[in-house]
């Protein structure tokens, strides 16, 4: 596979195994700067495992795994995050006993050494006015949509170049889902690169530039969002045409 010069993340032959179980069996993946790339597939296809492996939270092996010129092999999650790639995990996983503000502060913890956390936080609250209102509430008391906003906001506090989103719309009411997708589009428009795992195939392909379809830990289909949208497999399996 050829590596375009503007690729931010390029992975070859990624496998993820939990003991004897192989969740991801050698996939190639490229994300270019400024893109939204979506990973689609049924439950258990290996989407979440791929994201977790990229940030170092799942046991992984790869022939090649480069992010922004850095070899990711063997790096722990904290180092990967400091290099500019972060994950908003499935199920939001906000620190529920901590306040909204504390969640955001931890998200910006890497700025303790460099950057301007106050500025980042101010930007964040401007973008998420609901979080500004709830600043001193426990994160656990927020609604599902608010928690998702917080999880994304917390991840953005580290000023990432590449944001991995794992099922951000899961379990949310339809109008909230729309807001989340609007937000993802906005983020891309502001220059952020995004790798999105979603069950909501239609909406994902609407905002994505490109996509990969995983099945049983392998890439089954890939292409531009437009091409995928019109492919018969996607039509049959997900879009119910």
């Amino acid at each position: 596979m050829t590596m375009p010069d503007d690729s931010l993340l390029s992975i070859e032959g990624l496998t993820v195994s939990y003991g004897a179980v192989e969740a991801v069996r050698g996939i190639d993946l490229t994300v270019r700067r400024g893109e939204i790339v979506t990973l689609l597939g049924a439950n258990g296809a290996g989407k979440s495992s791929t994201l977790n492996a990229l940030v170092g939270l799942a046991p992984r092996k790869a022939k090649r795994m480069v992010f922004a010129g850095t070899d990711l092999t063997g790096l722990p999650p904290e180092t990967i995050v400091r290099r500019g790639m972060t994950l908003v995990p499935e199920g939001r996983r906000v620190f529920s006993s901590l306040t909204v503000e504390e969640n955001l502060m931890l998200g910006g913890a890497k700025h303790a050494a460099r950057g301007n956390p106050a500025q980042v936080k101010a930007d964040m609250l401007e973008r998420f006015p609901i979080l500004a209102e709830r600043l001193h509430q426990k994160a656990g008391s927020l609604s599902g949509g608010e928690q998702q906003m917080l999880a994304i906001g917390r991840a953005l506090m580290s000023s990432p170049d590449l944001l991995l989103l794992d099922e951000p719309s899961l379990g949310l009411a339809p109008q909230v889902v729309d807001r989340i997708f609007d937000l993802i589009g906005n983020l891309r428009d502001r220059g952020l690169t995004i790798l999105l795992v979603e069950q909501n195939v239609a909406q994902s392909l609407e905002i994505a530039d490109r996509g990969y379809v995983l099945a049983n830990g392998r890439v089954e289909l890939q292409g531009s969002a437009e091409a995928l949208r019109s492919s018969p497999e996607i039509q049959d399996a997900y879009l119910g045409a």
Binding site: P77, T86, L87, L98, M105, K110
Partner: protein
């Protein structure tokens, strides 16, 4: 009434020590799922450090500071040498590792220092009595209560007002996600052990001040009590550990005070029965936290 108040004060003093110990266990358990049975040996190490510092001629306050520093260092080393290599292993592996650390340390103390208790010269000023109205309180008991409350307050401030403290609370909830904040797992765990060492050190100094000696096995009973207290409170919950410690102290003192003489030999059995009763109604402990799948 005065007697009851006096017993409450006794319960506060005993419960406070248990709370400190249970908190030390909980701080570590909440983050890496390890019940550190070598926590008691951290108290013993503190005792020996204070003892030798006094023999060297350091004044008592400096000897205490030296003891606390040694406790923190020992906890830190324990993590580095024994627990880091097995981090992420099953709970059983972690538990057995901590038993091994504890057993090895005890044998080392017995063979390298002495099997017999070594006296620690506690200043005479700590033997006094404080009288508050009708209530009498030994100096060390009073200091126990004050130090415990100060430690709880200090730890609370640390956990809520500092970045390292917030990271610890977050780590207790979801260690994997904390790493996604770019915080180093090793330093968070090391901080937890250092705090646990400090708590063990403070409890160790109070414990030694009460008994006036250090012996190689002195950590065994306190760590058992701490374990019970932590279970009552809900393993892994910091406030639960404190609540469990005070409750256990309260149960023990009230039983000792009000059981008829003929039943007194069974006091510990009654205390454990009450603990079981608590767990029947709250199987996860008083202040259980939701357990998360840890990656």
């Amino acid at each position: 009434m005065d007697i009851f108040l006096q017993q409450l004060l006794n319960a506060l003093s005993l419960g406070g020590t248990y709370a400190l110990l249970a908190l030390g266990l909980a701080v570590v358990f909440s983050i890496i799922g390890l019940i550190n049975f070598a926590h008691g040996e951290l108290m013993t190490v503190t005792g020996y450090a204070v003892c030798f510092a006094l023999i060297w001629g350091l004044p008592f306050p400096l000897a205490v500071i030296a003891g606390l520093a040694v406790a923190m260092t020992a906890a830190f080393l324990m993590e580095r040498v024994a627990f880091r290599p097995v981090r992420g292993a099953s709970g059983t592996t972690l538990l057995l590792t901590s038993f091994a650390v504890s057993a090895i340390l005890r044998v080392l103390f017995q063979n390298l220092i002495s099997a017999r208790p070594i006296p620690v010269a506690i200043p005479a000023s700590l033997s006094g009595v404080v009288t508050i109205g009708p209530l009498h309180l030994g100096m060390i008991q009073l200091i126990s209560i004050i130090v415990t409350l100060a430690m709880l307050l200090g730890l609370n401030l640390f956990l809520h007002r500092t970045m390292a403290g917030r990271a610890m609370r977050a780590a207790a909830e979801d260690f994997a996600v904390l790493r996604l904040m770019g915080l180093r797992a090793n330093s968070v765990v090391a901080t937890a052990f250092a705090i646990s060492g400090l708590l063990a050190g403070v409890a160790g100094v109070l414990w030694v001040a009460q008994r006036g000696s250090v012996d190689p096995l002195m950590g065994a009973l306190p760590v058992l009590k701490a374990f019970i207290a932590a279970i009552i409170g809900g393993l892994g919950s910091l406030s639960g550990a404190v609540a469990g410690g005070f409750l256990l102290g309260f149960i023990e003192v009230i039983l000792q005070a009000y059981l008829p003489e003929s039943l007194l030999p069974y006091r510990d059995a009654f205390a454990i029965l009450l603990v079981i009763a608590v767990l029947l109604f709250r199987p996860q402990g008083l202040l259980a936290r939701k357990t998360l799948v840890k990656l």
